[in-house]
Symmetry: C2
Amino acid sequence: MASYPPAIERLLDELTRLPGVGPKTAERYLFALLRQPSAGLKAFGQAVANLHETILNCQRCHNFDTQSPCRYCRDRQRDQQVLCVVADAPDVLAIEQTGVYHGLYHVLGGTINTVEGQGPEQLHIADLLGRIPKEKITEVILAMNPDIEGETTSLYLKKALAPSGVRLTQLARGIPTGGDVTYLDEATLGEAITHRQPT
Amino acid sequence: MASYPPAIERLLDELTRLPGVGPKTAERYLFALLRQPSAGLKAFGQAVANLHETILNCQRCHNFDTQSPCRYCRDRQRDQQVLCVVADAPDVLAIEQTGVYHGLYHVLGGTINTVEGQGPEQLHIADLLGRIPKEKITEVILAMNPDIEGETTSLYLKKALAPSGVRLTQLARGIPTGGDVTYLDEATLGEAITHRQPT
């Protein structure tokens, strides 16, 4: 079977490490990169090579930023006693973009996923438990995805946080804005009825 | 609207230059890269930065290889008088993997696409025309995709190559292996009837 020269195959292998990228997509990416001018490739390559020097993991909340502690942890205007727990760093930006949350964050760095061998000890759960008494946190909002891994993680955290006596809340379940009652899945519609809110 | 720090935004911009990558995919890729160890990132980043030094465009056929002329152009065992014209370098490997072609290649570097402002002068068509008399080519196989851009390019090449008197062929049109007559699109089925072959 014909194949590319080893140097090209190695690069294709590197590209397939990106999430959801198979051999054909890696090929498309590589040939798209080859069409870019040298200067652009050098700048991009250097940025990737120095990623860990440029983008730091916040020592307090594990969000990614160009400084540690991150800009949310440094911002004294924010409510210092409410903590929103998210699975991954992009979730922080998603919540920031709503403009309705003004507390602090804690990024777990993933969810409990027994199939992929990711247990609670691989996540930033120990520091979360430490932050509650140390920072006198009064409320923890669990903002994991409503899927199996997210629910498992929430359940684990609920048990782990119970002894601290902190107020525990989670994102409201219900009809998404723009949703259609006729076509909603039963689980979502069921949650919307169960958790119906006063008008 | 909340956004990432400038250093992160710049990297996300670079990632969205890859074909088919939007802001959300760029975000997934960036955070996947951040999870990789520093050594891996350095190696990958350097490989991207040095792409144009490692992977060369063959001066003769414009295929990509670690040497120029490329391994197909260097291989004297191949039929030196048959030229297969393809749009992009990955097509060369696809044809090689069939194991049925043993001639030379010519990579155009794209197709004629008037919508995106890519005309014949942006493609390696002038050198193709030059190769025919210089290398005493007897047959040119047009192996462009059977879509609008591919057909336009084939038509253009047909006219441009006519004065040379070279034998012009194209990939056979018909039912793909594993295809189903009931569910084939009319264009393909029509071509399969028109170009029916003796059994």
